[in-house]
Each structure stands twice: as structure tokens, then as C-alpha cells.
């Protein structure tokens, strides 16, 4: 059986590279989390208006930002996969989706946990909250579509099309919801501290970095499994050390 080495060279090299990168990202993530949490809880001062509750911010804001960022990256990878027919980028997109969805979920959850003490309600129908919820639905759509199609190549292409259409729609959703909201109620109570304490900024930034390294590490780990699964009939997979042993 002739194997087109050129075609498979990319996943081969990438599989090894990813394997080498994962520990680096994983460890830096762990360290950054440790530092970030330390600053968040022990260095950052208690907020004047929100007391301790504001400390939820240090997990809420990074996860919120990453959930949106990951969607864009995922759509980008998917589009590259669709246009240039590169399998690897499609696999990357597939690997990113669950992490993005989880971040969106954490964002919603922590937001709700913050909203209850601050606004007295678990949930309000505010622009940001609503569009984050819709973002979660978009992730679900991507994952569900990919999962319902058996042929992986077809699944990649179909899901990519969806991701692209979705990414066009995300800004539209955000602005429409924002506008819709301003039509009705006055400004929602928002976090008061406009001029943030320097320690808060540091904590926020460190946690953001920690979350970012985490998502890189976990999606690289996930994509390695996906590569193995999809390329299971190739010679190079059979020759891998972890397969042979």
C-alpha cells in the first residue's frame, strides 16, 4: 500500500511537536495559576463597594475573554481547513471547540455567582450575558454537528461552514443585543471600580495568561488523540513508541 508521505508529513511532525509543547504549556499554566490565585486572594485589596465578592472577577473575566477568543481561533482554523483542505487545521478546530464551550460555561456560571450578590439575581437579560449565552449555543451547534456526521472529513467540512457563518454572526448578535437592551432599561449595575488597583490588574493579567496557556495545553493534548485516531492506519502511527510498547 503506497503511502503519500507528503500528505501525512504535517500531522507526523505536528504530533511530535505538540507532544513536546504540552508539558511546557501545562507547567507554565500551573505556575501562572498559582501566582494568579495568590495575588487574587492575598495581595489584591478588598473592594470598597463589593467587599470580597469582586474576587470572582479574576476567574470570570479571563474565561469570558478566552471563550470569545477561542471561537475566533476555532473558526479561523476551520476556515483554513475548508479552503486549503489541510486536515490538521480542521483537527485543531475540533480540538478547540470543547474547551471554548467549557470556558463559555464557566463564564456564565461565575457571572451568575457574581450577579446574585451584586444584582440580587442570578441572571439578567443584559447584552453581554445574552450574547455569551448565544456563544455557548454556537459552540454546542458546532460540536453537535461534528459529532452527528460519521465521516470525519465530511464532518470537518460541514462544521467549518457552520463556524464561519457563526463567526460572521457573532458581532451582529453582540450589537443587536446591546441595542435591544438599551431600548428598555437603564444601565445595568456594572462593576464600580473604574480605576483598578494595580494588584487587581496584575491578578487579572496573570489569570488570563494562565487560562490561555491552559487552553493551549489542553487542546494540544486533545488534538494528539484526534490525530492518532484519524491516522490510525498509517505507518507512522504504527511505528510510534507509545503504540508499539
Amino acid at each position: 500500500m503506497a503511502i503519500n508521505w507528503f500528505k501525512y508529513s504535517a500531522p507526523t511532525a505536528f504530533y511530535g511537536l505538540a507532544g513536546k509543547l504540552v508539558p511546557w504549556f501545562a507547567w507554565s499554566s500551573a505556575i501562572l495559576f498559582a501566582i494568579g490565585l495568590y495575588i487574587s486572594f492575598f495581595v489584591a485589596p478588598t473592594d470598597a463597594t463589593q467587599s470580597e465578592a469582586y474576587r470572582i472577577m479574576f476567574i470570570h473575566v479571563p474565561t469570558s475573554i478566552l471563550s470569545m477568543f477561542i471561537y475566533l481561533v476555532m473558526a479561523f482554523y476551520a476556515a483554513v481547513g475548508l479552503v486549503f483542505n489541510t486536515r490538521l487545521s480542521s483537527m485543531m478546530a475540533t480540538a478547540l471547540a470543547p474547551t471554548g464551550a467549557l470556558f463559555a460555561f464557566i463564564s456564565l456560571w461565575t457571572g451568575a455567582m457574581w450577579g446574585k450578590p451584586m444584582w440580587g439575581a442570578w441572571w439578567v437579560w443584559d447584552a453581554r450575558l445574552t450574547s455569551e449565552l448565544i456563544l455557548l449555543f454556537l459552540y454546542f451547534g458546532f460540536i453537535a454537528l461534528h459529532a452527528s456526521i460519521d465521516d470525519p472529513r465530511r464532518a470537518d467540512r460541514a462544521a467549518a461552514l457552520l463556524a464561519i457563518v457563526g463567526s460572521v454572526n457573532v458581532p451582529i448578535i453582540y450589537f443587536s443585543v446591546k441595542w435591544w437592551n438599551t431600548l428598555h432599561q437603564g444601565s445595568t449595575i456594572k462593576f464600580s471600580g473604574t480605576s483598578m488597583h494595580i494588584a487587581m490588574q496584575q491578578a487579572l493579567f496573570t489569570m488570563l495568561l494562565a487560562c490561555w496557556t491552559y487552553s493551549v495545553a489542553i487542546s494540544l493534548l486533545r488534538v494528539r488523540s484526534i490525530v492518532l485516531e484519524r491516522e490510525r492506519n498509517t505507518q507512522w502511527v504504527a511505528e510510534l513508541e507509545e503504540v508499539r510498547s
Partner: protein, 55 residues
């Protein structure tokens, strides 16, 4: 110490947030690693079956 954990009365919300986030991270890591284990297992199984078939 207990004062720290009490978080000035916001313990439920704060630890609820961080706790769930932590739980999700742990579960995700566990699931991804489990998936890798399963994948490798299946690969070995298939290879063994293939060798048997040739023999």
C-alpha cells in the same frame, strides 16, 4: 483562616465559582487523558489483531 474562607459572607459565591471552575478543569484534563489512553489501547488492539490475521 476561617475568616479567609468565610470571604466576608460571600464564601458560597466565591468558592462556588472557583470550585466549579477547578472541577471543570480537572474533569476536562481527566477526560482528555482518558481519551488518549483509550485511543492508544485501541491502536494496540488493532495492531495485535492485524498481526494475528497475517499469521
Amino acid at each position: 483562616m476561617s475568616e479567609f474562607f468565610a470571604m466576608n459572607g460571600y464564601a458560597f459565591y466565591i468558592w462556588g465559582s472557583y470550585g466549579l471552575a477547578l472541577l471543570i478543569f480537572i474533569v476536562e484534563i481527566a477526560m482528555v487523558r482518558h481519551k488518549r489512553k483509550i485511543t492508544l489501547q485501541q491502536l494496540r488492539l488493532m495492531r495485535d489483531a492485524g498481526e494475528e490475521g497475517q499469521a
